[in-house]
Every structure is written in structure tokens, then in C-alpha cells.
């Protein structure tokens, strides 16, 4: 029989997870899901050359997204992305991203 190889989080971690026995009650809010799509390019590990977003100030995020959308801040691609979100969505993204910590 062919053997499977398992890369696991390790025994200690698994036992810790079992001991805590938390309820599966986590919930994903819209702001978190919307923001997750930013992380494709703007890695939260700050790799790559797109500006990092972790801890990005809320009001600056809102104003920059607006500036990309109205053309007052020049861009190669953020002009095309920023126009796809409502003002309310941009606020949700800004709120969520401002809570991220390194």
C-alpha cells in the first residue's frame, strides 16, 4: 500500500486544540471577506511590492480609495479596482483593515 505523508500541526498543538474544545461559532463579517480579496496582491505578510495594508489608517484608506476612483491619485490598476466598490463597502474595508496587527 502506498503510504500517505502527513504534515501536521504537531501533537502539542493538536492536544491544545482538543483541550480548549471551542465551539464552532466564529463568524465572517462582510468587511473581513471584502478585505480578504485585497490580500491577494497586498500580502498581509508584507511580501511583494504592493503597499502593505496591515494597520493602514482608516480615514486614509477611505480617502485614497476615493482618490483612485475619481482619478485625483494616479494609478496603474487601483483606479480600475476602486471603482468597483460602494462608499459603504470601502468603509467596511477601511474599518476592518485598520484593526489588523502585525
Amino acid at each position: 500500500m502506498k503510504r500517505s505523508r502527513v504534515l501536521g500541526p504537531g501533537i502539542a498543538l493538536a492536544l491544545a486544540a482538543m483541550a480548549l474544545a471551542p465551539q464552532a461559532s466564529a463568524e465572517v463579517e462582510r468587511g473581513e471577506l471584502l478585505s480578504a480579496s485585497c490580500f491577494t496582491c497586498h500580502s498581509i505578510d508584507a511580501t511583494g511590492n504592493m503597499p502593505g495594508l496591515v494597520g493602514y489608517p482608516r480615514d486614509l484608506m477611505v480617502s485614497q480609495m476615493q482618490a483612485f476612483a475619481d482619478g485625483s491619485r494616479p494609478a496603474t490598476i487601483m483606479d480600475r479596482h476602486s471603482k468597483g466598490y460602494s462608499a459603504a463597502d470601502i468603509e467596511l474595508i477601511a474599518d476592518y483593515i485598520a484593526t489588523l496587527q502585525q
Binding site: R5, V6, L7, L33
Partner: protein
């Protein structure tokens, strides 16, 4: 029965005993999922599957997440055209699963799923294990339809590579290009829609042209296309003329591009009922495609070639409890790309976490970006933002998205080339980092 299967599995995995029990115990012995976190299995550790596994744990750390993928190293298709162009190495497009396991707590099983039983919520693997799931995500990529054109079979791929899954196929095509004499002809047969990576064939032609220009400038590139137009066409063609003169010739289906047969022994394509034949020195046949084999086999494609899903959650409309993401899925206006698969992984992960919490699914709003290099310093892009439309499909948000401007100066093309590489680093960190 269940117990026997479970024992086989424990024997099969051999190592990581406690992690294994934590990972599979709940579903196998029937205890309630809430006590230890539900078990989600993800099939396929590519762009969609690896993202889904990671974000399941990010969104809900108590979940037990098992990722099943046969390869220890995944070679990204993105960047594989740069390898063909001679300015990236295979090592630079190699990704592994260490961080998913050690940083994010995903149980990564190196194995291949041979069967899914949607009624029993179980998957069987080539390694002989049976694992139960509460939810299943599948991102098995594509399979090739070699039966579409007579004269060529999957067995010919060693000599006539598709290089549409990266890895050995990329290496084969690169070495054929290196061995080709100056003045030779590289022929690519590009598939009709829909297929993986709509701009991919044209980025490939660009990268091969870049290599030829440096190493064998008298050579030619012919693209035989099974369609009438292609992604970012105006920008590609302007770039080709600017950098490569008439080295690249593109033939749409109405002008001989619709390949009807292949004489594999003579590396010759036949179209126009035999009126047009093209002899290649290096032939790159990219067959028409369909959903990954395990998705087809599980019946997730219905009567078609791709898997219909509820586009709000990516749950199959055929087998509830199974979510299909990435190239295998029908995702409205979203193209079959790594960027799409990555974002679909997040949508499906959020949908499962919210379903477990008893919440209504969110209405997703998501994005795609595809960068293509025409030279290492000249890139173009296409972007779109997608939202759920009234008819339940994901459509592009009007007024957003589009392609790079046609009249941009060289400095903008160069900036986009820098961002192309940044995109690669960013998305691979988001998926496997």
C-alpha cells in the same frame, strides 16, 4: 466498517498520531462536530484549495482542516511562461505546504483522492484511507479533452507538450525550445473558450518571442487559435509589433486557426478540411479542457464539462455540502485564473464558517487581476470587480475594471512589469505563505 476504514487510515498515515485523531476523530466516530470543531476536507493544494484551507483556519481556528494533495511541490502555472522565456527558473515557481501545516494548523496529507461518496460524506484515497467530512471543498483544476481532435492522445504529451499544468511539462517545452535550431517554427494551438487563463497563450507567445529574439532571431511563432479574438488582444498585438516585428503570426479560427486534426508523428496540424497544414519544429498543443477528473467522476459537472455552483457560496448545485472552486467551477464572469481561484477559496471558506455558525451567507464582492508580460519590462493587465447579480451570477461591476490604457508610455508598461512580479510574490504568499 467505519472503524476498519479508520484503522487503515491511521496505519496509512503512520506519523502524527494525535494530530490525526484530532483531524479525523470527530466525523469518524460520530461525536458532535461542535465539541472539537467540524472537519473540512479540501481536495487539491493548488491556487484555490490551498487558499481555502488557509482561510478556513484564519476565519475559524477551531475547525479541523485537512488538505489532500498528491504533490509535495506545486509549480505555479503563473510564472511558467517566464521560465519558457528564459528569465525565471523552475525553483522560482515552486511552492510547498510547510507554512500551511506549521503556521496555520492545516493537516496536509500527501495523497490523491480516488473517490468521493457524497451520501456518506467520505473520501477515499489512493493511499487506501477513508476520511469523513462535514464539508468538502474541491479545487482539482482542469483535465484535458484529448478526444476533441483526432490524431493526438495524452500519451503524445511527452513529445508534444501542453505545458498547461506546470512542472515537467514546462521543462519539456523549455528544453525543446532550447534544442530548436535558429530559423525553426514554434506552433501553438490555443483552445476555444472557456479555458484556464484566457491571456496565457498570448503571454506564452510573447515570452517565447523574447527568448527567440535573443537566442535564435530568425525563428517564427505561429498561433493557431480555435477562436476569433482573445484577451487583451489589442494590447498584445501592439506589443508584439513594437518588440518583435512580424515574428508572431496569429491565425483566428476563420483563417486556418481551427485545428481539425494533428499528424502527431510529423508535428503537423491540419485545418480547413486539409487545405491548411502547418509543420512545426516545436509543437505546443493546448487541448480543450474540462473540470478536474475527480469532479467529473463525482458527478459534479452534471451534463456539462464544468461544475455548476451557487455563485454566492460556491456550493455545488448538484451535491450539497460539496463546494467547488477554481477552474473546475462555473463562476459567472470570473475567468479561470489563479487570482479568481484564490478569491473563490476565501468565499467558500467564509460560506462554510458562516453556515456552521448558523448565519446567512454573505453576498460576495470580489476581484480578478491578470498581468501578462510582453517583454520582461513591458506588462499589461486586465482587472475586474465582481458582485452577485439579481440572476444569481457573479458579474463584473459596471464602470470598474478593464485593461491597461492603449496609449500608455513605456514607463507605465515598465511599472506594470514591476507589479507583475509583485503580484506573483503577493498571491503566492497569500496562498501558501
Amino acid at each position: 466498517m467505519t472503524n476498519i476504514k479508520r484503522r487503515n487510515f491511521l496505519k496509512a498515515v503512520g506519523v502524527g498520531g494525535a494530530a490525526t485523531v484530532a483531524g479525523f476523530g470527530c466525523a469518524a466516530n460520530g461525536s458532535s462536530t461542535a465539541s472539537r470543531g467540524a472537519h473540512v476536507i479540501v481536495i487539491g493544494g493548488g491556487s484555490g484549495g490551498a487558499t481555502a484551507a488557509k482561510y478556513l483556519k484564519r476565519f475559524s481556528p477551531d475547525l479541523q482542516v485537512t488538505l489532500i494533495e498528491p504533490s509535495a511541490t506545486y509549480y505555479t502555472c503563473y510564472g511558467s511562461n517566464w521560465v519558457l522565456g528564459g528569465h525565471a527558473t523552475m525553483d522560482e515557481i515552486a511552492q510547498t505546504y510547510d507554512a500551511l501545516a506549521s503556521r496555520h494548523g492545516v493537516t496536509v496529507v500527501q495523497d490523491s483522492v480516488t473517490e468521493v461518496d457524497p451520501a456518506k460524506r467520505a473520501v477515499m484515497t489512493a493511499g487506501g484511507s477513508t476520511m469523513n467530512y462535514d464539508y468538502l471543498i474541491m479545487s482539482p483544476g482542469i483535465d484535458f479533452r484529448y478526444d476533441a481532435v483526432p490524431g493526438i492522445t495524452a500519451a503524445d504529451a511527452e513529445r508534444i507538450p501542453h505545458a498547461w499544468k506546470a512542472g515537467d511539462q514546462t521543462r519539456i517545452l523549455r528544453s525543446q525550445l532550447e534544442a530548436m535550431p535558429d530559423g525553426g517554427v514554434f506552433v501553438m494551438v490555443a483552445p476555444g473558450n472557456p479555458f484556464r487563463c484566457p491571456p496565457g497563450p498570448y503571454e506564452r507567445a510573447s515570452m517565447v518571442a523574447h527568448y527567440f529574439q535573443q537566442a535564435k532571431p530568425r525563428s517564427k511563432i505561429i498561433i493557431l487559435d480555435n477562436k476569433e479574438n482573445f484577451s487583451k488582444q489589442g494590447l498584445f498585438m501592439a506589443g508584439w509589433e513594437q518588440h518583435y516585428g512580424d515574428m508572431i503570426e496569429w491565425l483566428p479560427s476563420s483563417r486556418g486557426g481551427q485545428v481539425e486534426e494533428i499528424d502527431a508523428a510529423n508535428l503537423t496540424t491540419i485545418s480547413d478540411s486539409g487545405l491548411t497544414t502547418v509543420k512545426a519544429d516545436v509543437l505546443n498543443y493546448i487541448p480543450p479542457q474540462q473540470a478536474g477528473k475527480i469532479a467529473m467522476q463525482t458527478g459534479l459537472t452534471g451534463d456539462g464539462f464544468w461544475c455548476p455552483v451557487n455563485q454566492q457560496t460556491f456550493e455545488s448545485t448538484i451535491h450539497p455540502g460539496i463546494y467547488v472552486i477554481g477552474d473546475s467551477s462555473v463562476a459567472g464572469a470570473m475567468p479561470k485564473s489563479g487570482h479568481s481561484a484564490n478569491n473563490q477559496g476565501k468565499i467558500a471558506a467564509a460560506a462554510i464558517v458562516n453556515a456552521l455558525a448558523g448565519k446567512d451567507p454573505l453576498s460576495p464582492s470580489t476581484a480578478n487581476t491578470c498581468y501578462s508580460l510582453i517583454t520582461p519590462d513591458h506588462a499589461i493587465s486586465v482587472a475586474a470587480v465582481y458582485a452577485l447579480k439579481d440572476d444569481g451570477t457573479l458579474g463584473g461591476v459596471e464602470g470598474a475594471g478593464g485593461v491597461s490604457p492603449a496609449d500608455a508610455p513605456a514607463s507605465v508598461r515598465q511599472m506594470e512589469a514591476i507589479y507583475t512580479k509583485g503580484w506573483y510574490t503577493g498571491i503566492t504568499a497569500d496562498i501558501w505563505g
